[in-house]
Symmetry: C2
Subunit: 148 residues, 2 copies
């Protein structure tokens, strides 16, 4: 079924007139099959084997293309590197403030908030972003050697 996602994604690109290069194929594939939310550099390193000559710029360029095509979401964290997330259906992120691990969770109705916010501010709403911060089980157990 992740193959289905890949197929859909490639179709989306083709429809938008974006060329399918081996690099793009590989980046998309990697984004879909890894359940993590990799940084550009992690993607770069992961594909180093297949594409020894690939430039970091290529990764960044394509992540931007994917973002503009609505295939990928970019998650930013201040000075740290952005993380990229293949968009499947609506989900949110739970982030461990100790080790940085990100897991997804689904939650139904946040449309009310959008409507409310739109009403109060007069903005026309496109989307929203919700993130929950906490400590994961593992880090709770490893108290004493906190990193962050």
């Amino acid at each position: 079924m992740s193959e289905m996602h890949l197929k859909d994604a490639l179709d989306t690109l083709k429809t938008t007139g974006v060329r399918i290069t081996p690099q793009r194929h590989a980046i998309l594939e990697y984004l879909i099959e890894t359940m993590t939310h990799p940084t550009a550099d992690e993607i770069y390193k992961a594909l180093e084997g297949k594409f020894p000559n690939m430039s970091v710029a290529t990764v960044y360029n394509n992540l931007r293309v994917f973002r503009e095509s609505g295939l990928v979401k970019e998650l930013t964290y201040g000075d740290a590197a952005s993380r990229f997330d293949f968009i499947t259906n609506d989900h949110y992120h739970m982030i461990c403030e100790s080790c940085g691990k990100i897991v997804d969770f689904h939650y139904p109705g946040l449309n009310e908030v959008e409507q409310f916010a739109s009403h109060v501010t007069g903005y026309k709403v496109h989307s929203h972003r919700l993130e929950v911060y906490g400590t994961c089980q593992e880090c709770i157990e490893n108290v004493g050697k906190q990193v962050l």
Copy 2:
């Protein structure tokens, strides 16, 4: 009443054993009185008049101190510079994707989401972050000369 905030903030710092320097005073004051959500550089430039010799590092250092004291929240946006927000009470941000303007809005109950997320993921929850993206009235009227 913004003077109240400043007083409270200074007290908080003093209690935590953080020295009150003129620079810190000025940065806090600026953060409180400007309703915008300035970047470190904007703060630096705004205080250039009063402190011609102040270093950018000082602004960054103190914003970190304030963040660690829980006085200030940092909002990150990928490659763009972080924006800093004096914490009053719980509010969220509505961000215009066209001009970048940020306005605050209040919304009551998102604690359910925290509880839900905690239950599903097993994380111990500390906080959350919600942002709504859209287009502000002004930019809706100025269609045709889109910036972003």
